[in-house]
C-alpha cells in the first residue's frame, strides 16, 4: 500500500542522485570483538562524508534473510524483492547481458552425462571447461524448431542459457534435472494449460539435443531448469520520474538495471576508475546514476578479508571524483552482506550512507557497521532508501494539507 502511494507522490525535479553500490558491502569482524572489513579499511573520504550524512543499516529482504544479488539490487533500487521475483532462468540471461523480450522464456541449461540406458551418471559432465562448453553450445545452436526463435548462450563451465522466443509461452514448467544421479533425466511437464506450448518446444529441443550429442563424451545430454520470464517491473521513469543510467561492468547488474528501465552506459575498461570516467562523461545527461562495484563481494565470497578491505579503500579513494560533480543526493550502500569469514552472502543488514544538504548529520565521522547501527536512519528495509533519496532530492509531493 505504501509503495503504490509513494509512486503516485513522486514529482520531477532538476536534482541529481548518485547511488553507489559496493556489492556484498556488509561484513563481520575476523575475530569476536574486532572490526569488520569496512571498519578496518582506511576510508577518509567516506568518513568525512559520513559526518555530513545520515547513516543506517538496510535489510534487503527481511530479518534473517540472506539475499542474492538480484533481490538485493531490486530492494536498494526501491522495489519489494518479494513482489518482483527474478527466476533462475531470467537471472542466467541477465548475467550474460542477453536482452530478454516480453515473449521470452529462459532456462538455465546444464551439459550432463547419461549412460546407454538414459540414466544420469554426472550432472555436470565432469565440469567440462568453458572452452569445451562453448563448442557444444555452437552445436546446440544448429537445432531448429518451427515457428520459434531459440537462443543458446554459453555461461561458465557446464552451464548455458536457453531462451525460446515466440508468442504464447508461459513459464510454469517442471524441470528436466532430477537433481541426483542414478535416475533418468526427465521430460518437461506443463504445470498449467498455458504452458503447454512451452513444454512441447522444450521437449523437442531436449530430444534433438540428445540425438545431436549422442556418442560424445562426457557431455552427451542436456538438462533445463528454472524456467522464467523476465519479470514486469514498473520502470524508474514511471514510478520515480527519473531519467536513470547504470554503470556496471558485470552483466547481471547491467541486467537488473535494464529491468528497472535504466540506460546502460558503456564503460571503457573494467576498473572502478573506468566506471567513474563514464560517470563524469554522462553526468549532464541523466538525473540518476547507479554505479556498481563488484570486487567487495568477490573478496567476501572467497573469504579474503584483506582483499575486501583493500577493495573498499580503492572505492573510497575515488569518492572525491564523485563529489566534484556536486550531486544533490549521494547514496553509498550495498545489495547484501558478504562477510569474508562466512565465504558467502549473509543476512546481516548492510551499512548505508545518505548525503544531501538536507540530512541531519549524525555527528558520526565514520562509515562502518558500528557507526551505522547508531545512525538516525535506523535499521530499515532496503526498499525505503529510494523514497528517502528522492525526498532529499525534492522529488516527492506533500501528502495532505
Amino acid at each position: 500500500m505504501f509503495d503504490t502511494f509513494f509512486h503516485k507522490s513522486t514529482i520531477p525535479a532538476e536534482t541529481k542522485i548518485a547511488m553507489l553500490i559496493m556489492d556484498g558491502l556488509g561484513g563481520l569482524p575476523a575475530e569476536p570483538g574486532g572490526k569488520t572489513e569496512l571498519e578496518t579499511a582506511f576510508t577518509p573520504n567516506m568518513d568525512a562524508l559520513a559526518a555530513r550524512s545520515e547513516l543506517g543499516l538496510t535489510m534487503p529482504v527481511g530479518p534473517g534473510i540472506t539475499s542474492g544479488s538480484g533481490p538485493g539490487h531490486l530492494a536498494i533500487f526501491g522495489y519489494d524483492p518479494l513482489q518482483y521475483e527474478i527466476g533462475r532462468g531470467a537471472l542466467e540471461a541477465l548475467g550474460i547481458d542477453f536482452e530478454m523480450g516480453a515473449d521470452d522464456v529462459a532456462a538455465r541449461g546444464n551439459f550432463c552425462t547419461i549412460d546407454e540406458n538414459g540414466i544420469l551418471t554426472d550432472r555436470r559432465a565432469g565440469r567440462l571447461s568453458t572452452e569445451e562448453s562453448k563448442k557444444l553450445v555452437e552445436q546446440l545452436r544448429t537445432i531448429k524448431i518451427d515457428g520459434v526463435e531459440i537462443f543458446v548462450e554459453p555461461v561458465k563451465e557446464h552451464r548455458f542459457a536457453f531462451i525460446m522466443r515466440t508468442p504464447g509461452l508461459a513459464e510454469d514448467l517442471s524441470e528436466s534435472d532430477p537433481l541426483k544421479t542414478g535416475v533418468a533425466t526427465m521430460p518437461v511437464k506443463a504445470l498449467t494449460p498455458e504452458a503447454q506450448k512451452a513444454a512441447l518446444i522444450t521437449n523437442e529441443f531436449i530430444e534433438k539435443a540428445r540425438i545431436l550429442l549422442k556418442g560424445q563424451h562426457p557431455a552427451n545430454m542436456i538438462m533445463l531448469r528454472g524456467f522464467a520470464r523476465f519479470p514486469k517491473v514498473p520502470t524508474y521513469s514511471e514510478i520515480f520520474k527519473l531519467h536513470p543510467a547504470a554503470i556496471a561492468v558485470n552483466g547481471m547488474y547491467r541486467g537488473v538495471a535494464r529491468l528497472v528501465g535504466m540506460d546502460i552506459l558503456p564503460v571503457d575498461g573494467a576498473t572502478l576508475a573506468d566506471e567513474f570516467t563514464t560517470l563524469e562523461k554522462y553526468w549532464e545527461k541523466y538525473d540518476f546514476f547507479y554505479i556498481h562495484f563488484k570486487k567487495t563481494d568477490t573478496y567476501g565470497e572467497s573469504g579474503d578479508f584483506a582483499g575486501k578491505v583493500k577493495a573498499i579503500e580503492e572505492f573510497d579513494a575515488l569518492i572525491p571524483r564523485l563529489m566534484q560533480l556536486q550531486p544533490d543526493v549521494v547514496v553509498i550502500g550495498g545489495d547484501h552482506s558478504s562477510p569474508a569469514i562466512l565465504h558467502s552472502h549473509s543476512w546481516h543488514p548492510v551499512p548505508i550512507l545518505l548525503y544531501s544538504k538536507y540530512t541531519r548529520s549524525n555527528g558520526l565521522a565514520q562509515f562502518g557497521e558500528q557507526a551505522c547501527s547508531q545512525g538516525s536512519l535506523g535499521v530499515i528495509p532496503a526498499k525505503y532508501v529510494m523514497p528517502l533519496a528522492l525526498a532529499n532530492a525534492g522529488r516527492v509531493a506533500k501528502y495532505g494539507a
Copy 2:
C-alpha cells in the same frame, strides 16, 4: 492487522495520558553540522524529563513523505493516515470549526472573475479581502435548493467552504475549477452513479450563484473543488477506551480532534499558557488530553529559525505546570517536521518523548533530533505512539497466556 488486534486489546483504567504536540516540531541545522531548532533551544524542563523518558523519532506517513497537518495528526493520534484520508473540502470545513455530519459533502470554494463569455480571467477574483468575501458569502447564503441544507462559510480572502447536507450524497464529483484562466469554468460531473444527486445540487448552486453575482466585480462567479465527506474514523472511546479532550486554538486541529471523538475544550485566550489553564481546569474530567501548540510550525514555515527556537522555549517553560498534575503518561512530539531552512513541512522524522513510571530511561538528558536518533524507541511509524502510550498507562491487555 496489528491495528485491529490492538484495538481489541485495549482496556479501561484510571490513568491519565497527556499528549503535547508542537506543530512542525522536527527541524534541521541552519548550517551543516550545526544544531536544529529544538537542539538550539534552552529546554531545561524537557531535558530533565528526557532523562526519565524513552526517546525516538516518528514517521507520520512513511519514509520520504512530507505530511500535511491533517495526516500528521491522524498518525500521532494512532491512525494509519493512508487508510483515513481527509479530503480538501472536509479539511476546509475542519479549519473553520464547521461541524460536518455523516450526510454532508463539503467543498472548497473560490470567488473568481469571468468575462461576458463565461471565460475565467482571474481564479482568485483579485484575491479579494476577507471582509469583501464575507459580504459575498452572505449573498450566497440566500440561495435555496429544495430538500437540501446548504452552508456557505467564509474562510480567508477569496476562499469559502461549501457544504451540502441531505441523505444520499456522494463525494465522487469532478471539479468546476479548470485550474487555469482563458477557459470556461466547468459544471461538476458525477464520477459515479451514486454522486448524481450531489452533482445536480452543486450545479444548481453554481448556476444560482452565477446569476446572483452577475454584474458585480471582480467576484462575479464561484468555483468548487475538493468534494469530500467527513471520513468515518473509529473514535478514541471505541478503540482506546479513553474519554479524551482536545485543547487547541486553531480550527483545523480542533476539527481533527473532533474527528476522532475528542471533546473540544474552551480556551480563554490564544496562548499556550491559556491552553494550560484549560488543561488544569478540566484535569479531573478526562483521561486523555491533546494539547496543540501552533507557533513552532508557523515559524518553521516562515523560515524563522530564531522564532521557532523561542517558541520551543516558551513551550518548555510550561512543562512544570503539566508535571504538577502528575500525569501517568506524557507524550511530547510533533505532527511533522517544519525545518526553518526549508520554509515548509518536510519528510524528516519527528522527535518523540514518552514518559511514564515504566519507561526505560535512555540516559539521554536532552530532547533533540540527535538524542532522539539514539533513543530506545527507534524510528517508528507515528501511529505506534498511542499503543506505547496506552501500554505505559496500563491500558492494554496481555496477549495469550
